[in-house]
Symmetry: C2
Subunit: 204 residues, 2 copies
């Protein structure tokens, strides 16, 4: 199981954003929704072995986290508006208690941020996708249970990095140009795909 | 100058699509607009050395083609709705004559499809991004003037391939999994970026 954890420093934890002006009213939740698409959707299908956590640190009710599991979710469409409708509905559901609460098949919400994610992850090998780290093409990668932490358009904040430090994640970088988070996820996924098919697709 | 030519087999050549239901009313123009983002936008900026052609083969007035030049365009935003507004406005402008007609800085429209693109391209090395071709990581790539032809979610039609055959494009494949066109563009761009910075970012 591959996991992607995307940190939205200002992304709306409440459903009170406009579908007509998503980018302007949601603390750039649009960036995270595009990351969801890149993590989970491929041509004519869905990666069943991927889970995505969208950590929403902005707006009323923050922090909250949306979790989407590829092995359970249905009707996930690639366009931004469809994904925004999904997020709006999920964030509108009443959720209480500790940890993730399922709001529809494959979609769950927690009233917490990175803490809830770390509790939920279980065993795995953590990687921090960040510029200046070692090249992912030459990095050792755990194909069984990798967890990739990805920043939004603003990168990571010090408090987040401090919270993550106990895990001692390996930093990996995807290339010489600073690309959008969703493109970084596409590049990470491709490297993992190649390693899984390494006889036909040499890596490194 | 890098060029990406994205073929939208059914993408709307007219501005008569709904911004509220772009994916459902535009012949999947949303796919092409996401390709535009992936081709041209990076973190906090724009790739000035990229031009994109969106070939619109669906709906009233088809074929038409939108051309966006990175060295001239302004205010290009990454979210799907903003890009859809841009396309709607551009396709609403009256355009006549042969070839591309500028409708705003960096944005031009031609009342033709691949023919107009081939006339406009000038010198360059053509590549066809398609599954089953040789791995892009081991392909020779022209860094000065590459042109990548990319299909939408439905791939290429025989008539298109016949029209392109005279160019003898080299087929390149991005990996073992059939990914969305925009992710394929992110992977192509990354390979080009690495070749351009090959001392620090080994390739192949």
């Amino acid at each position: 199981m591959r996991r992607f954890v995307v940190i939205g420093r200002k992304a709306s934890a409440s459903p009170d954003f406009s579908l007509v002006d998503l980018a302007g009213t949601s603390g750039r939740l649009d960036v995270l929704l595009r990351c969801l698409r890149a993590s989970m959707l491929v041509s004519h299908g869905l990666r069943r072995d991927v889970s995505v956590y969208l950590v929403l640190l902005g707006g009323v009710g923050a922090p909250r986290t949306l979790r989407i599991r590829g092995d359970e979710v249905r009707f996930l469409r690639p366009d931004e508006r469809s994904l925004a409708v999904l997020a709006k509905k999920a964030l509108s559901e009443p959720v209480d208690g500790h940890g993730f609460c399922a709001v529809r098949p494959g979609v769950a919400v927690a009233n917490d941020g990175l803490g809830a994610v770390l509790e939920d992850l279980g065993p795995g090998t953590p990687y921090l996708v960040e510029e200046g780290s070692g090249d992912i093409r030459s990095a050792p990668l755990d194909l069984a249970a990798p967890v990739f932490f990805v920043g939004d358009h603003g990168g990571f904040e010090a408090a987040f990095l401090a919270q993550l430090a106990a895990l001692q994640p390996m930093g990996v970088s995807v290339g010489p140009v600073s690309v959008h988070a969703e493109d970084a996820i596409a590049l990470v996924s491709n490297e993992l795909d190649r390693r899984e098919h390494s006889q036909r697709w040499p890596t490194g």
